[in-house]
């Protein structure tokens, strides 16, 4: 009996371990492929220069336009998502706390929005853009991507907030805070590291998404200087280069993918650092 238990335990451990490590392995392999294929094209020019006229046929230049465009769009959209999402998540966990059914309905709707494919947001943004008489631009891209990621910010921050025991809210209220003070002074701080994770998730989704910006942000070889100018993005840049018949250009697509990965890594690591150092342990 004892022996069977230990065998079962061992089999279970092996199975779960295999599942876990093979996933990590696959991720590692993807990163390896990207860097391996893109490495020779990953030059300084790539990140510091705009594409020249013949760039997509193997000519001079880099993808600075797409890097900057992507940062603009993801940054702008994340900013909007934070401004809308943080109060919304706090509202769900403070004012709505007594209305469990409404709370659940709101969560369900947001979860559904999270699950909507980004091409649908792209189409929606496109319709909205036409309706407003705008053309494909940085602003249209930012707004569309903001639609895409706001539910992500709300729900993942909400998920962190919902684990905060109600006793903490009771404590804050009993000290004389209003519901809004409880939300902004207590819940926000208590859930701060959850908020950082939420922002990170949203930014990652925003910078990596191609479908939502396809019709709305347009594409350009220049860096936009204004909100109503079109903007290039890394995912579309990768797409255009990867569909080229010229091997050198396809190689650059991998280099662009590597740049995108590096950006996400940098953001992720610095966000974690930030979350750790500014979490409640250190708030003075």
């Amino acid at each position: 009996m004892q022996k069977r238990k230990t065998i079962e335990e061992r089999v279970f451990r092996i199975l779960t371990g295999v599942a876990c490590y093979s996933l990590i392995g696959i991720l590692g392999y993807i990163i390896f492929i990207i860097f391996n294929k893109g490495f020779s094209s990953l030059t300084l020019d790539m990140v510091t220069k705009l594409p020249s006229g013949g760039y997509y046929y193997g000519g001079e230049g880099g993808v600075l336009n797409a890097i900057v465009g992507s940062l603009y769009i993801a940054g702008g959209a994340t900013l909007i998502a934070i401004i809308l999402g943080v109060p919304a998540a706090l509202y769900i966990n403070s004012h709505l706390i007594r209305y469990k059914r409404t709370q659940n309905t709101v969560r369900y709707i947001l979860d559904s929005l999270w699950g909507v494919p980004s091409i649908v947001y792209g189409a929606f943004g496109f319709t909205l853009m036409i309706w407003l008489g705008m053309s494909a631009s940085l602003l249209a891209g930012i707004i569309t991507v903001a639609f895409l990621i706001t539910p992500i910010v709300i729900r993942s921050f909400d998920e962190a907030l919902s684990t905060i025991p109600i006793g903490l809210q009771e404590a804050a209220l009993s000290l004389g805070s209003t519901k809004s003070q409880t939300a902004f002074k207590v819940l926000l701080k208590q859930g701060f590291s959850g908020l950082v994770t939420a922002i990170l998730l949203a930014f990652g989704r925003a910078i990596g998404d191609a479908a939502s910006v396809l019709f709305t942000a347009g594409y350009t070889d220049l860096i936009p200087t204004n909100l109503d100018e079109p903007a290039a993005t890394l995912p579309l840049s990768i797409f255009f280069q990867l569909s080229s018949p010229i091997p050198a250009v396809r190689e650059r697509a991998y280099a662009a993918a590597a740049i995108l990965t590096i950006i996400i890594l940098i953001i992720s690591i610095s966000a974690r650092y930030f979350a750790k150092h500014y979490s409640k342990e250190n708030i003075k």
Binding site: I166, E170, A172, L173, S174, K280, N282
Partner: protein, 272 residues
């Protein structure tokens, strides 16, 4: 004019001796009923909580002690399923039915829960929190108050060198004392404590209990406990509840030594 005369005769007719001994109420609960769906959690509670005395709420698990305590400062608001009716007078204000400034009324009561819930800020800011809500801006005054309250709960010596580190870094017993200090800082008249020592080790429990014995000189205290000896040591007034009703109340001698109802007799037999 008429009412005035009536009042005057009333006072005149009331014998002096009785008027003197009749204790003043800090909280006056009238016809308090709490339902959750068909579950009648509190059944027509009428209770006077005497001022500057310790009232101990006793009763088997699930009889409604926590719910009663939460009704007193309207924390029942957080739970829509709780349907509350009746009145709870804190002085002249009926907290359940007034559109009065509820946060200000709540500041008249400090709450100590079963588990400490320190705010996600530093030790110092935990105690300063309520003061700042009250609009106190003077930094020196805040610092002075923080020190005083931390001394009052016997925590000052332990934390004076790390006032600005997170309150989470304290032990559970220290956190509970911090929560008490935080509650006292808003200068409440009443302290509501729901099994404040049940999550603590014996030494910390003893410290908290000693604090209560000190504090009862200045505050009205309502405390829920399952520890009968603690009730005996602290109480001026014992209230025994059973299935949402008050069954018996009186001095600890009367209630604990000489129970009348079968429910209380049974509870005491199991408890000691």
């Amino acid at each position: 004019m008429n009412t005035l005369t009536a009042k005057n005769t009333d006072t005149l007719m009331e014998p002096r001796a009785i008027r003197k001994t009749k204790p003043e109420s800090a909280i006056s609960i009238k016809n308090l009923n709490v339902h959750a769906g068909s579950h009648h959690i509190l059944n027509n509670i009428n209770l006077e909580i005497p001022k500057n005395k310790v009232t101990v709420l006793l009763g088997p698990s699930g009889c409604g002690k926590t719910t009663l305590l939460k009704s007193l400062n309207k924390l029942t608001d957080l739970y829509k399923e709780l349907d509350v009716s009746g009145s709870v007078f804190i002085g002249k204000d009926d907290i359940l039915n007034s559109n009065h400034n509820i946060p200000a009324l709540r500041q008249k009561m400090g709450l100590l829960s079963q588990k400490p819930y320190p705010l996600p800020v530093s030790i110092f800011k935990n105690v300063a929190y309520g003061l700042k809500l009250k609009g106190v801006k003077d930094k020196k005054l805040i610092a002075y108050n923080v020190e005083q309250k931390l001394k009052e709960v016997g925590l000052w010596e332990e934390v004076k060198d790390r006032l600005h580190s997170s309150a989470d870094s304290l032990s559970i017993g220290q956190q509970q004392r911090l929560c008490l200090a935080r509650g006292l800082a808003v200068k409440p008249q009443i302290i509501l404590a729901d099994e404040p020592t049940s999550a603590l080790d014996p030494v910390s429990s003893k410290i908290i209990e000693e604090r209560f014995r000190e504090l009862k000189k200045y505050y009205t205290i309502v405390i829920v406990t399952h520890i009968l000896r603690q009730a005996q040591r602290l109480a001026d007034n014992v209230v025994f509840m059973h299935y949402g009703k008050i069954i018996e109340q009186g001095t600890p001698e009367a209630v604990l030594k000489n129970p009348q109802s079968s429910q209380l007799k049974e509870y005491l037999v199991d408890g000691f």
